[in-house]
Amino acid sequence: MLDKNGIAKRIAQEVRNGWYVNLGIGIPTLVANYIPDGMEVEFQSENGILGMGPFPLEGDEDADLINAGKQTITAMPGAVYFDSATSFAMIRGQHVQLTVLGAMEVAQNGDIANWKIPGKMVKGMGGAMDLVASAENIIVAMMHTNRAGQSKLLEACSLPLTGVGCVKRVVTNLAVLDIREGAFHLVERAPGVTVEEIVAATAGTLVVPDDVPEMQIS
């Protein structure tokens, strides 16, 4: 079974040279820590920076330089700042090659719910609806089950939707799964996890091929 950093490490393997990547808050943010040295990748944060760098050294933080999670950050050489309309032109216009975000629920038709729980405080969708509606390549990073032990991979989402039919791949603490033709397809098992455990933790339709390799994570 993977921890959050393990999920991030596996997703980092999906990133290709020359890609612009938008990372959501939480586990997705950790993906930046596992990009191989020398790979040409730029991180976009939708509040208005391309070429986002790591957190600043203590004492160097700048209130005018933050990411979409409102955390203080740095800018890499070659970075650029822009306004919010330009930022979402990059996203809506499909100039960003990969979007990684978290989810509360994912359905076997690619629907995603990650912004609202009825009856609880609604904080808003931020940029999530724009991101999922337009990105061609969306990977969801999340735990396979919620805190109550219930599957987050469902036949249909029960929570209010963020976007419809948009998720292509899900990486959880248990598995890598692709979504196509209205079903989850098991691609890889996390180290030490059996196919039976994944089947038991997946509420939606799961297609299991004869051979399910274990993830290769260093």
Partner: protein, 239 residues
């Protein structure tokens, strides 16, 4: 000679702001918010306001200061966490809240300033955001019709500005400020540095002064940080 937009300070800048008006306020979280104008709005005690702003500040800073005094009737935002008083007013029904996707919010402000009454976007299709909105397919993909936003007053914060109202923002403090500057019937810019016309490089101006009606030099910026995240410093010897 360029048209001067300079006013003496926040009090003169906010002249004409009245209860019941629709205001836009730039900023993302607490980054790039018009601190001095917000302080003046608190002092003016105008209420029943509709505020268009990506976020709603925190309890004791930013738009949270207006919420504390119950000056806001309606918020139009994309994300409103981090504010207990906001939550209390929203759950009790005192405060009306319209949540819209961040990219749609930015584009609706841009459209308002650019004379585009509405536009189609894929964001929110199939969700509750699309309820009651026209849906149309382009290239086989469904989009929803979103309308432009404008405001009686727009409040923006820039790093440098000149007497002609031309603005330059710093780093990610730019965010919503340029679009909101375009969408205000009266746009008030507060700047950290106010310089004479001709000082800024015309190649490097972010907001042309035509969008700005009043400009003043702000004082005493706090620039509060919401999430201070750092890496520890290590000296060579113990690294």
């Amino acid at each position: 000679m360029a048209i001067s937009k300079v006013v003496t300070g926040s009090a003169a800048a906010c002249s004409g702001v009245q209860s019941g008006m629709t205001l836009m306020l730039g900023g993302f979280g607490l980054c790039g918010i018009p601190e001095c104008s917000i302080a003046e709005l608190v002092r003016l005690e105008v209420n029943d306001l509709t505020c268009i702003s990506n976020n709603a500040g925190v309890d004791d800073f930013g738009l949270g200061l207006l919420l504390q005094k119950r000056q806001i009737r309606k918020m139009i935002s994309s994300y409103v966490g981090e504010n207990d008083e906001f939550e209390r007013q929203m759950l009790s029904g005192e405060l009306e809240v319209d949540l819209i996707p961040q990219g749609s919010l930015a584009e609706r402000c841009r459209a308002g300033g650019a004379g585009i009454p509405a536009f189609y976007t894929p964001a929110g299709f199939g969700t509750e955001v699309a309820e009651g909105k026209e849906v149309r397919k382009f290239n086989g993909k469904p989009h929803i019709l979103e309308s432009a936003l404008t405001a009686d007053f727009a409040f923006v914060k820039a790093w440098k500005g000149d007497t002609a109202g031309n603005l330059v923002y710093k780093a990610t403090a730019r965010n919503f400020n340029p679009m909101m500057a375009m969408a205000g019937k009266i746009t008030i810019a507060e700047v950290e540095e106010l310089v004479p016309e001709g000082t800024l490089n015309p190649n490097e101006i972010h907001t042309p002064g035509i969008f700005v009606q009043r400009i003043f030099k702000g004082e005493g910026y706090e620039k509060r940080i919401e999430q201070r995240t750092v890496r520890p410093r290590q000296t060579e010897s113990n690294a």
